[in-house]
């Protein structure tokens, strides 16, 4: 069933969620769209995708894995952190970002053992997506198997039509929530309107079958020497990528009183693979750029199926030298 929420009702819908959930919505922040915690009076921005990713809600920039200290007799003591138990709810999530969360799920939950801190945040999270009626200038979701009206990873799909939103449950959790909310049914005309927008938004898929296998054979290709030339080797692209999930583990404090943390890391950093002996399997920018591209378009797909790029275009927007992953793919003979 397709429900309908009039524009004026949205605020009440969000307010109801904000009790049991930690609710995040796209908000305007100095000219940029960012995900922000909802509170009464906050109006979600419904145009454009957020500058930052939703991944930071599930895999924060830095988080405590546990704390340690000592008992009076000097023996160590390990304490797991208490986290906010309220599940997360995200409204206005773009289909690409929801799909990216599904990709993180494969790594953090799909491979044993599950990642506990991630699971705690992910479990019970309600992902409410919004169809992109107009893909942005750097978007290319359709070329990597997604769609501006895609439902992968989502629980509820919102389509904005004149006067309000058509809502559809697209997962079991979504169905349960919809049943509980009991939204009035959308009229046939409203449903038709939503379908039209969804279809207009979804260009013909142009995913490149066999790209992973093709790339695997091109590990030693000389093209890599050229592709990385302008890359500065910062972590902007990977930190802002919704599917990148590499982290470092480190201690802060001392034996008597400290925490073990995990923090985002990036394969673009030279230290990422440096052995204690001084040996480094990825010695130069060429190898590191190759890792980033290969991980997304070859290694991850070989292991998990889809490409680990949802075409959100963030890496294109944040790169200080405008190194465009679409151009890289084109050179590699992939999409575009």
């Amino acid at each position: 069933m397709v429900g309908f929420i009039p524009e004026a009702e949205l605020d009440r819908v969000l307010a109801r969620l904000a009790g049991p959930y930690r609710l995040y919505v796209p908000v305007s922040c100095a000219g940029r769209v960012e995900l922000g915690e909802w509170s009464p009076g906050i109006r979600p921005v419904l145009e454009g995708r957020a500058y930052g990713t939703a991944k930071q809600l599930f895999l924060p920039r830095s988080e405590e894995l546990f704390a340690f200290g000592t008992h009076p007799d000097g023996t160590p003591r390990v304490v797991q952190p208490e986290r906010d138990r309220r599940p997360l709810a995200l409204f206005g999530l773009r289909p690409c970002d929801a799909r990216a969360i599904g990709m993180l799920d494969q790594v953090f939950l799909g491979q044993d053992p599950p990642d506990d801190p991630y699971r705690e945040r992910r479990q019970g999270a309600l992902l409410m997506g919004l169809v992109c009626s107009r893909p942005g200038r750097a978007c290319f979701c359709a070329q990597v198997g997604g769609s501006p009206a895609g439902t992968a990873g989502l629980d509820l799909l919102f389509t904005r039509i004149g006067g309000g939103f058509c809502v559809e449950a697209v997962s079991t959790a979504g169905e349960a929530h919809a049943a509980q909310e009991d939204w009035p049914a959308a009229t046939a005309a409203q449903v038709a309107g939503a379908r039209e927008i969804q279809q207009a938004a979804a260009p013909a898929a142009m995913a490149t079958p066999g790209l992973a296998q093709e790339l695997e054979a091109r590990f030693e290709d000389e093209v890599w020497a050229r592709l990385h030339e302008k890359c500065l080797g910062c972590a902007a692209c990977t930190f802002f990528c919704p599917t990148c999930h590499c982290f470092d583990v480190m201690d802060a404090g001392s034996y008597d009183h400290g925490t073990r943390l995990r923090c985002w890391d990036s394969c673009m950093f030279p230290k990422f693979t440096l052995h204690a002996s001084g040996h480094n399997p990825r010695l130069s920018g060429k190898e590191r750029m190759r890792q980033r591209v290969m991980h997304k378009f070859c290694y991850y797909p070989l292991r998990f199926g889809p490409e680990a790029c949802v075409g959100c275009g963030r890496c294109i927007e944040v790169c200080p030298v405008n190194l465009d992953i679409r151009a890289v793919l084109a050179e590699l003979g992939g999409s575009e």
Binding site: A30, A138, K230, G233, C234, P320, V321, L323
Partner: protein, 314 residues
């Protein structure tokens, strides 16, 4: 001839005649009002070179990657000053360089532009004379360039390249240097300044785009990457970010030419000039040293005088 046309011709000639192995300049970017560094090894690509207010990167940091090669490099005035410092500190070999100075009226500050667009998506843009013509879905707007130039450029007092083999164009008028209100900022109490500093630092992700884009940050191993001793935790908390930026600021003092490349590289819009322009000012006012000028002069830290008023170093 227009500088851009002259540049294309020159780059093609340098590559054709084998005077350089590699020519580094700017080409059109994939996003509106962006350029992207290009690395030419054949004359054929020279026609794609561009110049202008979208050329926001400082290309000098790339030089370290091509030791032993003869490189042609496009420099704006501030980039040329960065180059002077790199030569002074023996980081690049002047002999191997062919420096092409280009006129500059300031580069676009994407942050200012974003503020001006207030959430509207820019899908097309071009420079026309003194105007930046912006366009999006169902809107168009012409914004005067001087309202969009990066603060480093607005502050630039030396807009003509000092070091070059060839200088294209004969120095267009820079956008009027406004001479920022540093004094007003300093007049605030320490608490206010600390709060401002913290606010900027809280945005930092430690992605190191600033460091990587900076011509003065040329250390093969940055202090933050040392593990023995570990100077910094690296967890990205506020104290780490402050430590990184304070130490970086001190390390680039006397070499930072306030080109603004670090600030423009930052995806989080951290105002790095809060620290840097102050250092540049101190170098000038306390030591009479302007980084990037006078290649014959010693480095700032290398020019200690016994009559230094501070005696802590003695």
């Amino acid at each position: 001839m227009m500088p851009e046309a002259a540049l294309k011709e020159l780059a093609a000639r340098l590559l054709e005649e084998g005077l350089v192995d590699l020519f580094i300049g700017y080409g059109p970017g994939s996003l509106p009002l962006r350029s992207t560094p290009v690395f030419l090894r054949q004359a054929a690509g020279a026609g794609g070179l561009i110049l202008g207010p979208t050329c926001e990167n400082n290309l000098a940091p790339y030089l370290a990657r091509f030791p032993g090669e003869r490189v042609g490099l496009v420099v704006k005035a501030c980039d040329a000053r960065a180059l002077v410092e790199l030569i002074r500190e023996n980081q690049v070999n002047r002999e191997n360089l062919y420096v092409v100075g280009v006129p500059c009226r300031g580069v676009i500050c994407r942050q200012k532009l974003e503020g001006r667009l207030a959430g509207r998506e820019l899908t097309a843009g071009r420079i026309e004379g003194d105007a930046v013509r912006c366009g999006g879905h169902e809107w168009e707007e012409a914004i005067p360039l001087d309202q969009l130039v990066h603060p480093s450029c607005a502050h630039c007092r030396l807009p003509a390249p000092e070091l070059f083999d060839v200088c294209l164009g004969d120095g267009e008028d820079p956008v009027a240097a406004s001479g920022e209100a540093l004094e007003a900022r300093d007049a605030r109490d320490a608490g206010a300044r600390y709060r401002e500093f913290s606010r900027e630092m809280e945005k930092c992700l430690l992605c190191y785009a600033c460091r990587q884009a900076c011509p003065a940050c040329y250390c093969p191993e940055c202090f933050v990457d040392r593990s023995q001793p570990a100077w910094m935790g690296g967890s990205g908390d506020l104290s780490d970010c402050m430590l990184f930026h304070l130490v970086r600021a001190l390390h680039v003092a006397g070499r930072c030419v306030d080109c603004g490349a670090c600030a423009r590289a930052c995806p989080q819009r951290v105002d790095l000039r809060v620290l840097n322009r102050r250092l540049e000012q101190e170098a000038r006012e306390l030591f009479g040293f302007t980084p990037g000028l006078d290649p014959g002069h010693k480095t700032l830290p290398g020019s200690f005088r016994p009559d230094d008023p501070d005696d802590f170093v003695k």
